[in-house]
């Protein structure tokens, strides 16, 4: 591992669109989980894996803010977003019908860096974090003819999403569930540990904070590169409101806080101060 902190690249493009996109489909894929396919040629052409868009879930002012959604797949002229219905915004999103239009702002943020010379690409997804991974896996396969290792963790068998997709793409897939109803009973990090990441490997993670913290610790110990895709409450999605910041380990250019929307959502795991991150634990 180099000492230099990797500043995530696929070049942040200045191109932004604010467009009404047609809903192609919006179907349930698991309990409370939906996939929306949108027709947006300009956005799909400009987007890279790991970036996100902001969807206007209602024409009324309630809910007020757009909802950030990462690109699950980018297949110009369409792109997909995968979401879990958790609140009013995602509930409204789930009611869109094919043919309806929705205002989309994007592509936003910095995506996953695509590094050459990597021995193994290991994708680790927990829960709805799996939404960030299909576009990345496709890019790795397309670019390097790689055979990514994929670790999918979910509560139960019903919540495991995209397993067949990753297998068909040629990935080596392992699953973990909290209740043991599918694959390994336990955590994503148990499976990652068994894969024994090494310095030439690159791990990409998206999921709950405790999982990402553990992945960051595990990869730091092994010397593997690690990139995480973070989530945060955000208002503008594009660097202005400063609402979505997370604490970085060290000051960079005088800033201790980094913006999930513009500096991320994908970060080198070494940049993030994992101890400072809140798990939002209910007791």
């Amino acid at each position: 591992m180099t000492e230099e902190v990797f500043v995530c690249s696929p070049s942040i493009r200045e191109q932004r669109f604010l467009l009404e996109c047609a809903v192609v489909s919006n179907d349930p894929v698991a309990p409370s989980h939906y996939r929306m396919r949108l027709h947006g040629p300009e956005i799909a052409a400009a987007a890279v894996c790991g970036q996100f868009c902001m969807l206007e879930v209602s024409k009324t002012l309630q809910p007020f803010l757009r909802r950030p959604m990462c690109f699950e797949r980018i297949h110009p002229p369409t792109f997909d977003v995968l979401y879990k219905v958790e609140g009013e915004g995602t509930r409204l999103l789930s009611q869109f019908l094919p043919g309806q239009r929705i205002s989309v702002q994007g592509p936003l943020g910095k995506g996953f860096p695509i590094c050459s010379g990597v021995r193994r690409h290991i994708l680790v997804a927990g829960g709805i974090g799996v939404a960030a991974m299909p576009a990345l896996a496709e890019e790795l396969v397309r670019r390097f003819a790689a055979v990514p290792e994929v670790v999918l963790a979910a509560r139960t068998r019903d919540d495991v999403i995209n397993e067949a997709f990753f297998r068909e793409l040629g990935c080596h897939v392992q699953c973990a569930t909290d209740d043991g109803s599918w694959g390994h009973r336990g955590l994503a990090t148990d499976l990652l540990e068994q894969l024994k990441p090494e310095a030439q490997d690159c791990v990409y993670a998206c999921g709950p904070m405790p999982m990402m913290r553990a992945v960051a610790a595990l990869t730091a110990a092994s010397g593997a590169m690690c990139f995480v895709s973070l989530e945060a409450q955000m208002a503008c999605g594009d660097g202005a409101c400063l609402g979505c910041v997370v604490q970085a380990k060290e000051e960079r250019e005088g800033e201790r806080m980094v913006r999930v929307c513009l500096d991320g959502p994908v970060f080198d795991a070494r940049v993030i101060d994992w101890e400072a991150q809140d798990d939002n634990d209910a007791d």
């Binding site: 604010l18 206007e56 702002q105 409450q233 208002a235 999605g237 594009d238 202005a240 609402g243 939002n280």
Partner: protein, 315 residues
């Protein structure tokens, strides 16, 4: 009916010496330093750009979480994270100057002298066309507040003192931004006017709080924050109207403006200009539609100049 350019109503306003080609600016903290939004529209079409608060030194701001969505609005406790004066001058001003859009520089200081220094240095550097003194940020805990003091703009004597000190440091148009968290908005507004302010900006955010029942913890790390968005608009309109009854200096109205009709409401209540705030988060080019919509409204109602509707609510 088609309108030729000469039929278009006049939108130009003068706010305390600042000429704006239309009455629409941006609310501080919702528009970065302008460049963030130039990806979505040409910001030179605005009457002015009001910057994020500038402080003498860079500020890291509050710990996250800093934002929570609330009914028809949001609560924030950013804590004045900003690049500081030097970086503002070096990195932000050139873009805005190249755009030839008037700059309303919002400033925050830990003391009256700091505000004065900011105003002086901004004027010297040609980095502002007007100063907006933020005497009302609810989310910072400076030495003054640590001593138990309220926000500057909750104390009329402090408003008067700060305004006088800043006034003596600059010849730029001086705007004072006030908090709505007061019993009677007319009092601090009059204090600002009598101490040399050229305009007042109404309103800053309302203090608010949100608690997560599951964790039993506040949703903001700062515990409380400032509420903005359409949820607060009727309060803001009323405060602008209250203040307009007693002030001679103009008012820049803001608080939940989302559409042209909302902006017109503020103008009718007595604001000479308006600022688009949180709506820019939702719709980055909201201000463009609002400028166009004000013009359409004036045409529809047979007005030839936006000034004809300022304060003209029919009671």
């Amino acid at each position: 009916m088609t309108t030729t350019p000469t039929d278009l109503p006049r939108l130009e306003v003068c706010v305390g010496g600042l000429r704006m080609k239309n009455p629409v600016t941006t609310a501080s903290g919702t528009f970065g330093y302008g460049q963030e939004y130039d990806r979505y529209f040409d910001v030179s079409c605005l009457g002015a750009v009001t910057t994020k608060s500038i402080t003498l030194q860079p500020r890291p701001g509050n710990k996250p979480p800093r934002l929570v969505e609330t009914p028809a609005g949001l609560l924030n406790a950013i804590g004045l994270q900003n690049v500081g004066l030097d970086a503002y001058l070096a990195e932000k001003v050139p873009f805005l100057r190249a755009k030839q859009v008037p700059i309303i520089a919002n400033i925050y200081g830990k003391s009256a002298d700091e505000y004065a220094e900011l105003a002086r240095r901004l004027e010297e550097a040609g980095a502002a066309d007007a100063i907006e003194a933020n005497l009302s940020c609810p989310n910072v805990h400076d030495a003054r507040r640590a001593r138990g003091a309220v926000l500057v703009s909750q104390d009329c004597d402090a408003v008067a003192q700060y305004t006088r000190v800043i006034r003596s440091a600059t010849r730029l148009p001086l705007f004072v931004k006030l908090t709505p968290n007061v019993v009677d908005i007319r009092e601090p507004a009059l204090a600002a006017q009598e101490s040399g302010a050229d305009a007042v900006c109404l309103i800053n955010t309302l203090l608010g709080m949100a608690i997560d029942p599951e964790t039993r913890r506040p949703k903001l790390s700062n515990v409380v924050g400032g509420l903005s968005g359409p949820a607060i608009r009727p309060i803001a309109v009323k405060m602008v109207w209250d203040a307009a009854q007693v002030l001679k200096i103009p008012i820049i109205g803001m608080g939940g403006i989302c559409r042209a009709e909302d902006a017109v409401e503020f103008l009718l209540a007595g604001a000479t200009a308006v600022a688009v705030g949180s709506m820019s988060f939702r719709q980055p080019d909201a201000a463009v539609a609002i400028i166009r919509g004000i013009s359409d409204y004036l045409v529809r109602h047979g007005f030839s100049d936006v000034c004809q509707i300022v304060g003209k609510v029919r009671l």
